[in-house]
Symmetry: C2
Subunit: 337 residues, 2 copies
């Protein structure tokens, strides 16, 4: 087991009981829905051993608390809160994007309908704040504020994402801004909240927040690469999922902006109507590759990790924890799902 796998495992071990305790408070039906969504049970409530997700956000929250206090526990309410907000956004995004599968299972709206997905997401967003108000940290108010601001950014990102679907002239800058909202904001607060709750100096909080935000951009770039070239067996999503949906992801937008002839061919491909065969999807993926979008996104993800590590160095953390955070960052760009 790598150090990062160990870090993520340890984090899941600490966070799972607190997360379950929070979810226990929901009404029985919403609890069932959330247990299913989180991979704890099947849709009838029978316990399962499903893939519980990466738990990247809670791991960051605990590591930041550890960086400040030497132990992860002060970050626990923050870890639970960011995991709840993350899952609130997954429940609502899957509904809005009409994605039918996540982590090899049907999404909540696909199983129970739209209203249930709306309500389960609402319940998790509210629960995140409930958990934070119960924290014994004297800094819980700043933590709640940071989560609320990140949620506002998250929503702004999703609003842009949906608006971009109606447009053919989305620029790379707009697309990067959208990713900063959709992915960067919550990873930023995830990396900072453990330090906030532990009462760390502002410079440490700011450094960790920048680290998380850059890591989030890298995360999104890798997600976009996996959405085109990832193995469906590993990702749990259909093959070429983002191309089927004609999503203006970062590698696609870069290719349209900077991809020359192949980029123009890609633009024409995106404007075509109707269903798509696997051959046509493979052709589009090749166009993005020829345009340079795949190489650009790969390099940009590495550069963002570099910026993330730089922010980390500036935060003045203890070496052991600093290195673990660095390893988590590298895990993000090496992951296959």
């Amino acid at each position: 087991m790598t150090i990062t796998a160990e870090t993520l495992d340890r984090s899941r071990g600490l966070v799972a009981p607190a997360l379950r305790q929070a979810v226990e408070r929901l009404d029985p039906f919403t609890r069932l829905v959330v247990s299913y969504h989180l991979g704890w049970s099947d849709e009838h409530g029978r316990p399962t051993e499903a893939n519980p997700g990466k738990s990247l956000r809670p791991a960051l929250a605990l590591l930041a608390a550890e960086a400040v206090t030497g132990v992860p526990e002060p970050g626990l309410p923050g870890a639970v809160a960011v995991e709840l907000v993350h899952n609130f956004s997954l429940l609502h995004d899957d509904l809005m994007d009409r994605d039918t599968e996540r982590r090899h299972r049907r999404t909540v709206w696909a199983v129970w309908g739209d209203a249930t997905a709306v309500l389960a997401g609402d319940a998790l967003l509210s629960l995140a704040h409930e958990v934070l108000t119960e924290s014994e940290s004297p800094y819980r108010q700043a933590a709640g504020q940071a989560v609320a601001i990140a949620t506002r950014e998250l929503i702004r990102g999703q609003v842009l994402d949906l608006a971009f679907e109606q447009r053919n002239d989305v620029t790379l800058d707009e697309c990067l801004e959208m990713a900063a909202g959709k992915t960067g904001a919550l990873l930023g607060v995830s990396a900072a909240i453990g330090a906030i709750l532990a009462g760390a100096p502002q410079a440490v909080v700011a450094g960790l927040s920048r680290f998380g935000a850059e890591l989030g951009m890298a995360f999104q770039l890798v997600d976009d690469l996996l959405g085109i070239w990832g193995s469906p067996v590993v990702t749990g999503k259909p093959v070429f999922a983002d191309l089927v949906a004609r999503k203006k992801t970062l590698p696609v937008t870069w290719s349209l902006d900077h991809g020359g002839e192949a980029g123009r061919e890609l633009a024409a491909w995106l404007r075509r109507d109707g269903g798509l065969t696997e051959d046509e999807l493979r052709y589009a993926a090749q166009l993005i590759e020829r345009a340079g979008g795949r190489d650009w996104a790969t390099q940009e993800a590495r550069d963002r990790i570099g910026l993330a590590e730089h922010a980390l160095d500036q935060a003045g953390l203890d070496d052991v924890v600093r290195n673990r955070l660095g390893q988590v960052a590298r895990f993000v760009i090496e992951r296959q799902s």
Copy 2:
């Protein structure tokens, strides 16, 4: 102008600038959607003089703060927060219930689609907590916790409401429990939050909370009566709206449980498929009246107001404010929309 109209007006005057300031932070599109929903602008962003709603919840929050401190201002962040949570729930409920009209205007999902209604609601729920974390009250954490718990109850109520649509055997007790969640919980916290933020003793907070919860039940009963017998011109909803949707409202459920022959006829009517003429709807309304459901709901609303006033008397408030709260309570059962 009655004292209650004055109270509600004064409350709107105090709350509106703070509410606008909060909404200003949202991304431009969500800001437009929320401004439309709140009656501040039309769907193109042009300012309007639309009916801004009753603002009952913020008025309660301010009166409670006044009861404790002599001035309403300490309740302001609470007033804004409960109004935001209320509007979050309207946005999502209109979507889930597929209601196309509210306050004489098309609902947000009907204008912009489902995703926009989901995101605008999400934004307001998060904003409610953002506003509370910024309060300068040393009791803001207790206020945030109370709002989060009420939101959980609100969601539980909506979950029950949707589940009841699939069932023909909903009891009056279940229906009352649903109303306690959907309407009682948020009115309970609305009446208490001003006192919480002002640092009132627990007995005062508990009395105000009970007052609000009973007021909420009366409010729901009156809402259900207006949903059947209200004037569409005044309510802004289609005629017999709740009967068209075959909603198991409180007067309907009472009639099914206790309405004898007319109740059994009503049960048969509710099981019928297909579209409904205005004559058929009028017939159903008459059945509920013959079954005694209209009289029961009218009397039950009065009884709940009695319980609310009793809770108020136990809270030991200053006479002037206590009387204003009592007048707001009576306004709730005398209203026509």
